[in-house]
């Protein structure tokens, strides 16, 4: 059932992404002070929301793994970290592209920029750990590191908060006002990115599950072979 749903969902996601792109480039009104450059916001902010959501899922899955030792939670943690790093990279690339014409600088040690960068660094080190660690203990080590990373986030935020912040106020839950049409376009793009992220995570999840089954079978076969030899 799930396998048949995949192409349909794929087509729907592609359609939603195209619609989101059209709305971002043509549908949304031109921002008064920043001009056309502002349109990168429709990719920047939804990517950030998606990345943060994926990292939250990663943290929850890691805690579940620490309590229950469930393999599925571990795979979910791995998958969300991988896809989250990709979206976080998009945020870190589109941010400076927007900042150069608007602020006149590529990069500044602003609170949200720096927190996002540190989060990205933590999750890259998480993926490095998963790659370098010997297979049996990888899930536990990774889950522990994810917990440490989550504890670090508020401390990172406060430490950088002490410097004056230059970033525009967040449009959702912040004081900034935004044209309703712009918000709508951002939300459409967010929905498209979420579908895309969900789809990629799902296929990656299936792949990892199969991979582990193959490894397990191979290990078992090797064991049986060596047992049969004189």
């Amino acid at each position: 059932m799930l396998r048949r749903a995949f192409p349909i969902l794929g087509v729907l996601t592609a359609a939603l992404l195209s619609y989101g792109l059209y709305e971002a480039l043509i549908g949304a009104p031109i921002e008064q002070s920043m001009g056309e450059v502002q349109r990168i916001f429709y990719y920047h902010a939804p990517s950030a929301w998606t990345a943060f959501l994926l990292f939250t899922v990663n943290f929850v899955a890691s805690v579940v793994y620490l309590i229950r030792r469930s393999i599925k939670a571990d795979i979910l943690a791995l998958v969300t970290a991988e896809v989250g790093v990709v979206f976080c990279t998009v945020v870190l690339v589109t941010g400076p592209l927007w900042a150069r014409p608007v602020w006149g600088i590529w990069w500044t040690w602003d609170i949200r920029l720096t927190s996002t960068l540190v989060l990205w660094l933590i999750y890259v080190s998480y993926l490095m750990l998963r790659r370098f660690s010997s297979s049996g203990q990888t899930p536990l080590m990774a889950a522990v590191l994810a917990v440490f990373g989550a504890l670090d986030v508020p401390l990172v935020y406060f430490s950088i908060w002490f410097f004056r912040t230059q970033h525009p106020q967040p449009v959702i839950g912040g004081g900034g006002s935004i044209d309703p049409k712009m918000l709508q376009v951002a939300l459409i793009n967010w929905a498209a990115f979420l579908c895309f992220a969900g789809l990629v995570s799902w296929s990656r999840y299936r792949l990892e599950l199969l991979q582990r089954e193959v490894e397990e079978t191979e290990a078992l076969e090797a064991l049986l072979d060596s047992g049969g030899a004189p």
Partner: protein, 225 residues
């Protein structure tokens, strides 16, 4: 509780005695930090005014790199003769071992700092314009922040390939707020421009959070199969 204290003391005194006789960690850290100081010193060649502003960063980068040298050796000697496996099957609490290792590393890095600080003062013509005694607080808190996570991650990276390189890769990203606070606190005291109070509070919070996390999770890491 008293069993924990007794075991911690026994393990710590064993580590200190081993270090006193071999001086492996201290010697390698001292020489490494000395090299960093000399290289920085002629790379920048700052005036007294400039050096007050950048010294906080230079000092702590040197100490951080040197501390990694010591942290990487922490667990290595326990692997020989399967000491760590013996510890795992013994009924001794895992946290006693962790605390002893972390305290040991704390003492090594503090000794390193005591030796290196006069050298920094000489090379960079430093004189604190703020309250110099606060440097002791910032150093103690900052050092603990580095070694508590460093000891923990060193235990974690024991189980990875190329573990020597794995430790800094895990430790540095997590330590960014602690490093920032230590460097900024030191700079605040050296220049006397603003109060280091916020950074001291942040370091204290960081230490409480991560010491608790390490103590709660070390058992799992030590006994991971």
């Amino acid at each position: 509780m008293s069993a924990l204290a007794t075991l911690t003391r026994a393990s710590l005194s064993k580590d200190l005695r081993l270090e006193w006789r071999s001086k492996d960690a201290i010697n390698s850290m001292l020489f490494f930090a000395l090299l960093v100081v000399v290289i920085f010193s002629f790379s920048f060649d700052p005036t007294a005014e400039e050096s007050r502003r950048i010294a906080g960063g230079l000092v702590w980068v040197a100490f951080l790199f040197a501390a990694v040298v010591a942290l990487n050796q922490t667990w290595a000697r326990e692997l020989r003769n399967q000491v760590l496996d013996a510890y795992r099957v013994s009924p001794a609490p895992a946290n006693a071992l962790f605390l002893a290792k972390a305290l040991g590393n704390f003492i090594f890095v503090i000794v390193l700092e005591a030796f290196m600080t006069p050298l920094f003062i000489v090379f960079y013509n430093l004189r604190a314009l703020g309250a110099a005694y606060q440097l002791l607080i910032v150093s103690a808190l900052g050092t603990w922040a580095l070694v508590v996570n460093g000891t923990f991650f060193a235990a974690m990276s024991l189980r990875t390939r190329s573990r020597e390189i794995m430790l800094p890769l895990l430790l540095f990203p997590i330590s960014i707020p602690a490093l920032l606070a230590t460097v900024e606190g030191t700079t605040a005291i050296l220049t006397g421009d603003y109060s280091p109070k916020f950074w001291i509070v942040l370091l204290a919070a960081y230490n409480v959070v991560f010491t608790t996390a390490c103590l709660l999770l070390f058992d799992k890491v030590l006994n991971a199969e």
